[in-house]
């Protein structure tokens, strides 16, 4: 026995714990590899092969370095919620969570009661620090969530259907009764966007500086907010819709329609990129996973569906490695009408805008814990914000870069060359004209004998003659031949 153990130790010198760590690291490396390495074996060009091999090696090294640095670079740990014993995660109430978490966490759990000015919609900045809320009856406000400061609050005394931040907290757009307006954070009206019509839903495409809107008539507008140019104006042709969401990975806008279809749009084509039938009955909500491969839709027929956007299929396998089942539930008082749900970036917080104001609840593990100062910084100073504005304007993407697969940029277009027939083959084909004629002549000569053999002598002489006559006429005239004889 002892010998056997020793053998095992020789075969597997790595302790199980270390092995686990290395596996974990491998997983992390895969995360940073951004897809599979290219297959260099098929390349003919040796020079290119060498260059690409060096490149691939570099990619591997950088992914490994990033995975290794993860340990030290990322100070915050993600949130989690684990049920013990017979309790289930979806039975855990917000009050119970509030008792368990630290004081900073529990501070994120609150209800703002504003019963008068109608269901509220809200929007967070990409860093999650600022929120703008807009009541349907015209109450708008911007808040700094770090210290819960009210920055500005004002009334427009008009229906406000949706509100969205532009590239930073300095500007936001509100879809009002007749037109869409852009305000700055002091509440000053900067622009009135009349071309959009009466907009139901707004979205802002951060990297492209495009404001996307869908109006009452189902028209989709894209407007560049830096130049004011209208980039796209498309009729969806599927009726009124107030369900619109941007896919965070490729900036494609998805619109849910009352017929149960979801269409995906880019600003450079008037036809949808994808039109998929998702629900029997109107689509009521849409959401994307942060990696852009998953889409969740909700329908009026009380169904929630998860879609794999790589295959455009319903993800049926709910029992796989990732278990998509109910995680948490939260009940709010009866009679509250929910207008908008939004997760706060870089926090385990869900904002709910409803008819009695808005509330914020804790959903542990819902968002990325570690922010990148150069991507979105919740602790940004005004100087940093100004600098980032300049940089993001320099890196502003043209609208053509919106496509279903954004990694296609810079890759080689596969050649669709038709297999050209070899010269020999062409020559053979030309030669076959003569051969064909010859063949026809032989067939013609053989025909009477063959027919005779086929029909035999069973038919009468007259009938055979008739048939012969018929066969002499072209196909289109044969029906006349019989008629004439009858006459």
């Amino acid at each position: 026995m002892g010998v056997k153990i020793a053998n095992d130790a020789l075969i597997n010198p790595v302790p199980a714990v270390e092995k686990g760590i290395s596996e974990e690291e491998d997983m992390n490396v895969m995360k940073y590899m951004r897809g599979e390495a290219a297959n260099l074996e098929v390349l003919q060009d040796k020079k290119l092969k060498g260059q690409l091999a060096v490149r691939e090696d570099l990619y591997g090294k950088s992914a490994k370095a990033a995975a290794k640095a993860e340990k030290w670079l990322m100070p915050s740990e993600g949130g989690y919620l684990e049920a013990e014993g017979i309790e289930r995660t979806w039975n855990i109430k917000q009050e119970a969570i509030a008792r368990e978490v630290d004081i900073l966490g529990s501070r994120n759990q609150y209800d703002i009661i504003l019963p008068d000015l109608g269901p509220y919609s809200l929007d967070f900045t990409p860093s999650g620090r600022y929120v703008t809320v807009a009541g349907r009856k015209g109450h708008m406000a911007i808040l700094d969530m770090k210290n819960m400061n009210l920055i500005k609050e004002f009334q427009v005394r008009e229906t406000v259907r949706d509100v969205v931040f532009l590239h930073n907290e300095m500007f936001f757009a509100a879809a009002q009764k007749k037109y869409t307006y852009i305000y700055d954070r002091n509440g000053t009206e900067l622009h009135c966007l009349k071309e959009h019509g009466s907009v139901l839903k707004l979205q802002f495409l951060n990297k492209h500086f495009l404001l996307a809107s869908i109006n009452k008539f189902g028209q989709l507008h894209y407007q560049d907010v830096t130049t004011g140019e209208m980039i796209g104006n498309f009729r969806t042709g599927l009726g009124r819709s107030d369900v619109m969401q941007v896919n965070p990975i490729n900036s494609v806008v998805a619109v849910g329609h009352s017929g149960g279809a979801v269409s995906m749009w880019k600003p450079t084509s008037s036809a949808p990129l994808v039109k998929m039938f998702c629900h029997h009955g109107p689509v009521t909500a849409l959401a994307f996973h942060s990696n852009g491969h998953l889409m969740a839709t909700a329908g009026m027929e009380r169904k929630i569906k998860l879609w794999d956007l790589r295959k455009f299929e319903v993800l049926r396998d709910l029992s796989g490695s990732q278990n998509y089942s109910r995680y948490m539930s939260h009940s709010i008082a009866k009679g509250y009408q929910i207008q908008k749900l939004a997760f706060r970036p870089y926090e385990d917080v869900l904002g709910i805008g409803h008819s009695m104001g808005w509330s914020s609840i804790l959903i542990p593990g819902s968002r990325e814990a570690n922010f990148d100062s150069w991507v979105a910084n919740p602790f940004e100073t005004s100087k940093q914000r100004k600098e980032r504005e300049v940089h993001s304007l320099l890196d502003k993407l043209p609208p053509e870069t919106i496509m279903l697969n954004p990694t296609k940029i810079g890759s080689v277009k596969p050649t669709r060359k038709k297999e050209r027939p070899a010269k020999q083959e062409i020559r053979g084909r030309i030669g076959s004209k003569v051969a064909k004629k010859k063949k026809e002549a032989v067939e013609k000569a053989k025909k009477p004998f063959l027919e005779q053999a086929a029909k035999g002598d069973g038919l009468s002489k007259k009938k055979r003659k008739n048939m012969e006559e018929e066969s002499h006429l072209p196909g289109s005239l044969q029906r006349f031949a019989r008629k004439r004889r009858a006459n």
Partner: protein, 452 residues
């Protein structure tokens, strides 16, 4: 129940004192950065455009000669000094930093044809059509620094009169010998008034001469009988020779790969050869539209500069078939001599309009000291540009060069001519017996024969 939510205290994530640097946190997760490739592409495009905007290669002209500049020599031990000789017999030492004459070397009667400096940087050797070789003391650098040096003229160390006019001179890289080219190739010692030895192969005049930087005893010359000859000083007779279809105006060895040399030819092309294998050029560098007059390698050996009779200076990769860069100005006339500076960052051209011109080797390079962050940014943009250089928009911007109308037209004419020639040969081959007209590459076609 175990539960934890993200909670960040402001103190941990912001600086303590206002004098501190702002704290930076990184997360390299690809999901945080969507559309990376599109962003990189846009950055590459912007970098290419910025490069075009900042491409101001011309630094300044140095005037003072009263006739065309015929030859130049750089001082290997002094970075900012350059010697130039002109057709009227004037030799000047220039300070590149202040772009003015530091010292003059009067004495030559006819035009100065060759200039070279010994490797230790002490002795300047000049020769010319007046059949003299003159040795000069190179002034010490303290004189170069001083301001009051208006009529600072030097006296020759020695004057050696010989039988024939000289066309070129070059100093050995490691030793005391120098060689002149004329009716024959003469090898000289500093202290002898007559050549130590002479070589001759055929009756024609040698017009350029260069010592090999790696092997001090080997030198290459080109002659007016269209030949390129390689000599070995240890042998009594020349080593090898090739004859091309047109004359080679200048020769230069690659300082980093000393077995390779590049020849500037009359037929508008430069030809890179391996000295061990002369039956075929390693690379043909095309782009000039008139005879290439002079050529010089960068000390890195990765690129060379060539000046041409078409009034342009071009920079080529050592293995690139076409030029990376073309420099021209309205006032620059026929370029007779070019030099790369010893730090590989400047190019100097001397032309028919009596001026020396100073250019940057990289047209859009930022001069002066770069901060580390600035340098990193430049490196990043360079990498991004390199990654997306094949995309049509980036490629168009990076490749575009404005050319004077005459040169543009001449280039397109040359293209048409070569295309017509190629077609004609193709047809001729198609209509003759198979194998009777063999295909010959351009790298071989211009060589008539190789003689050992």
């Amino acid at each position: 129940m175990k539960v934890k939510v993200i909670s960040r205290s402001t103190d941990e994530f912001t600086r303590e004192r206002s004098q501190d640097l702002q704290r930076v946190f990184r997360n390299f997760d690809p999901n945080l950065r969507s559309q990376e490739k599109a962003v990189e592409y846009v950055r590459a495009l912007n970098a290419a455009k910025l490069d075009k905007i900042f491409a101001r290669p011309f630094i300044g002209a140095m005037d003072g000669h009263i006739d065309a500049v015929s030859c130049m020599a750089k001082n290997p031990s002094h970075l900012k000094g350059i010697f130039s000789g002109s057709m009227d017999g004037d030799i000047r030492l220039w300070d590149l930093a202040s772009r003015r004459t530091v010292c003059q070397f009067p004495g030559h009667q006819g035009s100065v044809r060759g200039l070279t400096v010994s490797t230790d940087g002490r002795v300047l050797v000049s020769c010319g059509t007046d059949s003299t070789v003159r040795l000069w003391n190179v002034p010490v650098s303290s004189i170069m620094e001083s301001d009051d040096s208006f009529d600072n003229s030097a006296k020759p160390l020695a004057v050696y009169v010989w039988k024939n006019a000289f066309w070129a001179v070059d100093h050995q890289w490691d030793g005391d010998l120098f060689a002149t080219a004329g009716a024959q190739v003469d090898i000289w010692d500093h202290n002898r008034s007559q050549p130590v030895s002479s070589f001759e192969w055929g009756k024609d005049t040698a017009i350029s001469i260069r010592f090999n930087p790696g092997e001090p005893n080997i030198l290459a010359t080109s002659a007016s009988d269209r030949s390129i000859t390689i000599y070995d000083l240890r042998l009594s007779s020349p080593a090898r020779k090739i004859i091309m279809r047109t004359k080679t105006n200048s020769i230069v060895w690659n300082p980093m790969e000393p077995m390779n040399f590049t020849a500037a030819n009359e037929d508008c092309n430069c030809y890179s050869y391996d000295a061990r294998k002369l039956d075929e050029a390693r690379c043909v560098h095309k782009d000039h539209v008139s005879a290439v007059m002079d050529i010089d390698y960068s000390p890195t050996g990765r690129e060379f500069v060539s000046g041409s009779y078409d009034r342009t200076v071009r920079i080529f990769q050592y293995n690139g078939g076409h030029s990376r860069e073309v420099y021209h100005t309205k006032r620059m006339q026929r370029v007779f001599c070019v030099k790369f500076s010893c730090d590989a960052s400047y190019v100097i051209s001397g032309s028919d309009d009596t001026n020396l011109r100073l250019w940057k080797a990289k047209a859009s390079e930022q001069l002066g000291v770069l901060l580390p962050r600035e340098r990193k940014k430049h490196e990043y943009l360079e990498a991004v540009k390199n990654r997306y250089k094949h995309l049509p928009e980036v490629k168009r911007i990076v490749r575009h060069r404005h050319l004077p109308k005459a040169i543009y037209k001449a280039a397109s004419l040359r293209r048409i001519m070569s295309e017509a020639e190629r077609k004609k040969e193709e047809r001729r081959r198609a209509h003759s017996a198979p194998g009777s007209i063999p295909k010959e590459s351009l790298r071989k076609r211009r060589i008539i024969e190789e003689v050992e």
